[in-house]
């Protein structure tokens, strides 16, 4: 009974949430913010689907943008040919659903192809192959004139349901979450933990790896189809290596293996650059920082990281005293920044250099990756997941028996 209540509540919250987001973003915000909401939803899908490959199955793939691109170009091309060029006018939402399926199928074929080398390659080698695959796809698309070449594939009919974007994200989360609760899903985790041991225990490692790649890339392909129809115009530069790295950063930041973590990190990291870009001075101009301030910030972070690392490594102190120390270091970093900045002030080329806050986007991503790896390689959420029992605990209820908490 309890099982079914939580199920139904989750289901209603999930589906309802999509429409609430849709309603709110149409009612209250402009088209620019709507686009952010859509991109956040797409990034959640991408991060969670990459997490299935990277975090849950442990196959380190860093070419996820390729699947995104394949989905986008397949769906975009078919839509453009059939609707814009062919003059047909099918009902929008069913057509878009069909295109998502098409994008997913195309991407999952590619996922199958990339998954095959993963049978022979491990760790860093697989990473390089997926990266290379992503670049090959991009270069091929860039040189195919039928797909717009290096310019763009344009005139894709615009179909922009925000709820569908988030529904895809929710479905992706649900599929991944439910998958690892099943016996079949446990084999994915087993492969991550120890490939040899799990194959000795009778796990079909080949099929697990390939399945992970197929499912993960299918969701990325569907997200690509949505992107193509939302923007109406896609270019190869939308799918560069950087995008793969951004998705990877989301997964790593959230915690490899934690679906909750990936989703939260995806929302956070897709919003952060827009927040930086939107920072305004009181005069309403884009916020500009000096080169000296940036260097000072980086230096202060380095010092702070070094201290935190030292405390982490020593492993002494009660949780309380450590938390106090961390707090002290954080305050110290904030104080240190202006001091270093002031010290750097006499260096003219630095202090006169002006950098818009929006330009710091990728620098912050990269710094996040490094700092996170140094201090907490397992990611912010590590392997923890959001669960109803956790919510109950939050409201002071007794935790349910262990069997149901297992996450």
């Amino acid at each position: 009974m309890k099982f079914w209540t939580t199920r139904i509540v989750s289901f209603i919250i999930g589906i309802g949430g999509c429409f609430v987001i849709d309603l709110l973003s149409h009612r209250f915000v402009g088209s620019y913010e709507q686009r952010l909401v859509v991109l956040a939803g797409l990034y959640v899908t991408l991060a969670v689907s990459l997490n299935l490959i990277n975090g849950i199955t442990g196959q380190f793939s860093i070419g996820h943008a390729a699947f995104y691109q394949i989905g986008a170009y397949t769906a975009g091309y078919v839509s453009r040919t059939y609707i814009t060029m062919g003059g047909h006018n099918p009902p929008a939402i069913p057509w878009l659903l069909g295109m998502m399926v098409l994008g997913a199928i195309a991407a999952s074929i590619a996922g199958f192809v990339v998954g095959l080398p993963s049978l022979r390659l491990r760790g860093d080698y697989l990473a390089i192959v997926t990266l290379g695959f992503g670049e090959i796809i991009r270069i091929l698309v860039q040189n195919t004139d039928a797909l717009g070449g290096s310019y763009a594939l344009d005139k894709i009919p615009k179909i922009q349901p925000i709820w569908l974007v988030w529904l895809l994200a929710i479905v992706c989360i649900a599929v991944c979450r439910n998958l690892i609760k099943t016996a079949r899903g446990l084999t994915f985790l087993a492969v991550r933990e120890d490939e040899v041991a799990s194959s000795a225990m009778g796990v079909d490692v080949t099929s697990v790896k390939v399945t992970a790649f197929i499912i993960g890339s299918a969701f990325a392909g569907a997200a690509g189809a949505l992107l193509a129809h939302y923007e109406g115009l896609i270019t190869p530069t939308t799918f560069t290596m950087d995008v793969s790295f951004i998705i990877l950063t989301m997964v790593v930041l959230g915690g490899t293996g934690s679906i909750t973590g990936s989703a939260v990190a995806a929302i956070f990291l897709s919003y952060l650059p827009e927040y930086l870009r939107g920072l305004k001075t009181s005069a309403g101009e884009p916020l500009v920082v000096s080169g000296a301030a940036v260097i000072a910030g980086l230096a202060a972070v380095v010092v702070g990281v070094a201290f935190i690392k030292r405390i982490l490594d020593s492993g002494r102190g009660t949780p309380r005293s450590r938390a106090l120390k961390y707090l002290g270091i954080a305050v110290g970093v904030v104080i240190l920044e202006p001091i270093i900045s002031f010290a750097l002030h006499p260096i003219k080329p630095l202090s006169s250099m002006s950098i818009e806050a929006g330009q710091l986007r990728m620098v912050i991503f990269a710094a996040t990756l490094i700092v996170l790896m140094l201090l907490r390689p397992e990611g912010v959420f590590a392997h923890h997941e959001f669960s109803w029992s956790w919510v109950r605990k939050l409201f002071g209820k007794r935790p349910v028996p262990q069997a149901e908490v297992a996450a």
Binding site: D124, I128, E135, F245, V252, M373
Partner: protein, 391 residues
């Protein structure tokens, strides 16, 4: 994509030797970078993603040093010397070594106890960081390039491999007197009739004019045949210097690795990290040594690429060469020093062959195709030995 027409019709076999030589010269730079990848991988089992960015910083160092030597934007200095080049080379190598050591000390060393994937993510982070933080501080739009006046060795030389066929030369020799005769006769006719010209001629002069024209046409076509046959190689001095310097540096590396104490220690660490440390090798200083040598080679490559080829610089200058050099290292067998050189040269040749085949737009993709093929069918590379995964 029209595969076959291109493949068959567009090929100019005469230019093949020249392209092969160009490929070798290009490959020398890849080999220098690949050595850095392969040595670091050999010692730490880590793909040093940031190596391409070290290369990029080397190019920028060369740029700034060339500014300091008086070859800045709009400079009018036209005389340079080998000394300037040496200063730039040493500066690039030094700065790259320092950058490499700093990266190792602060980003890779703390990660050594963690999983290899964590190190790899750190390396990706360092690479992205240098690209984008560098873009904030280094001049990159418009992309600066090193003033070519700093290079005293400009110009090129031509080697003739196969001369034009004897029959063609004979044809020229035959055609020349006839053509000269006919032209002279026609010119004499024109002198005698000053009112007429080549395009305004009386019927009496027409046969003379036509004879002169046909004789000249014959001579021209014979000459065309001579220039169109034969195989020549144009070698630019700058590229020749790149190649020779690379060979010298590789020779020094070979000596360092096989004949010196740190070199022997490096081979020991590369063979077995833990045992080497148990046998009294100071592993940390050997890793530092490896990064110094590898980064210095990348710096030398960057300086030469930027100076002798004048490639414009952005902070993504090292991205593609880095990736290609990594592929070269894998192709030769990662961790294997002669393999990296071989792989680098092969990659250079493969790239110019793609351009020769008419697929210059896909020249960058060939690296990845080679990579995937090698990893699938011979993951240990051409010269590497298969490594058995111990469980």
């Amino acid at each position: 994509m029209h595969l076959f027409p291109h493949l068959l019709a567009g090929l100019e076999f005469r230019t093949l030797p020249e392209q092969l030589v160009n490929g070798l010269f290009l490959g020398a730079i890849y080999a220098l970078i690949a050595l850095g990848y392969t040595m670091v991988y050999g010692v730490l089992r880590l793909i040093n993603f940031a190596h391409g960015e070290v290369y990029m910083l080397g190019a920028y160092t060369a740029l700034f040093v060339s500014y300091a030597l008086g070859f800045g934007v709009g400079s009018t200095v036209t005389s340079s010397s080998v000394l300037n080049l040496l200063i730039m080379l040493l500066a690039s190598m030094t700065v790259c070594s320092i950058v490499g050591v700093v990266i190792e000390r602060f980003a890779y060393r703390p990660m050594r106890s963690h999983s290899r994937i964590a190190s790899l993510i750190t390396a990706i982070g360092v690479s992205l960081f240098l690209q984008y933080a560098g873009a904030l501080f280094l001049p990159n739009s418009p992309p600066p390039s090193i003033n070519e006046q700093v290079n005293p060795f400009r110009g090129s030389t031509q080697l003739t491999l196969v001369g034009p066929p004897a029959s063609a030369l004979q044809a020229i020799r035959d055609a020349k007197p006839a053509a000269e005769q006919a032209t002279a006769a026609f010119n004499n006719y024109l002198k005698a009739h000053p009112t007429e010209s080549e395009f305004n001629i009386s019927p009496a002069g027409q046969p003379l004019r036509d004879a002169a024209r046909t004789a000249e046409d014959k001579l021209e076509s014979a000459e065309r045949e001579v220039t169109g046959s034969g195989v020549t190689i144009t070698i630019r001095y700058g590229e020749l210097i790149i190649f020779i310097t690379s060979l010298i540096l590789m020779g020094i590396l070979k000596y360092l690795v096989s004949n010196t104490r740190p070199g022997r220690a490096m081979r020991a660490v590369s063979h077995d990290f833990d045992s080497a440390s148990l046998m009294g090798v100071n592993v940390n200083s050997i890793v530092t040594f490896t990064f110094i040598v590898g980064s210095a080679l990348a710096g030398a490559g960057a300086m030469m690429q930027a100076t002798f080829k004048g490639t414009p610089m952005t902070t993504f200058f090292g991205l593609l060469p880095g990736v290609k050099a990594f592929v070269a290292a894998v192709l030769g067998g990662i961790g294997n020093i002669p393999g990296a050189v071989l792989g680098g040269l092969l990659m250079g040749v493969a790239e110019t062959l793609m351009i020769w085949l008419g697929y210059s737009r896909y020249a960058d993709a060939i690296a990845f195709v080679v990579l995937i093929v090698v990893l699938l069918f011979r993951p240990e590379g051409l010269l590497g030995s298969a490594e058995v995964d111990k469980v």
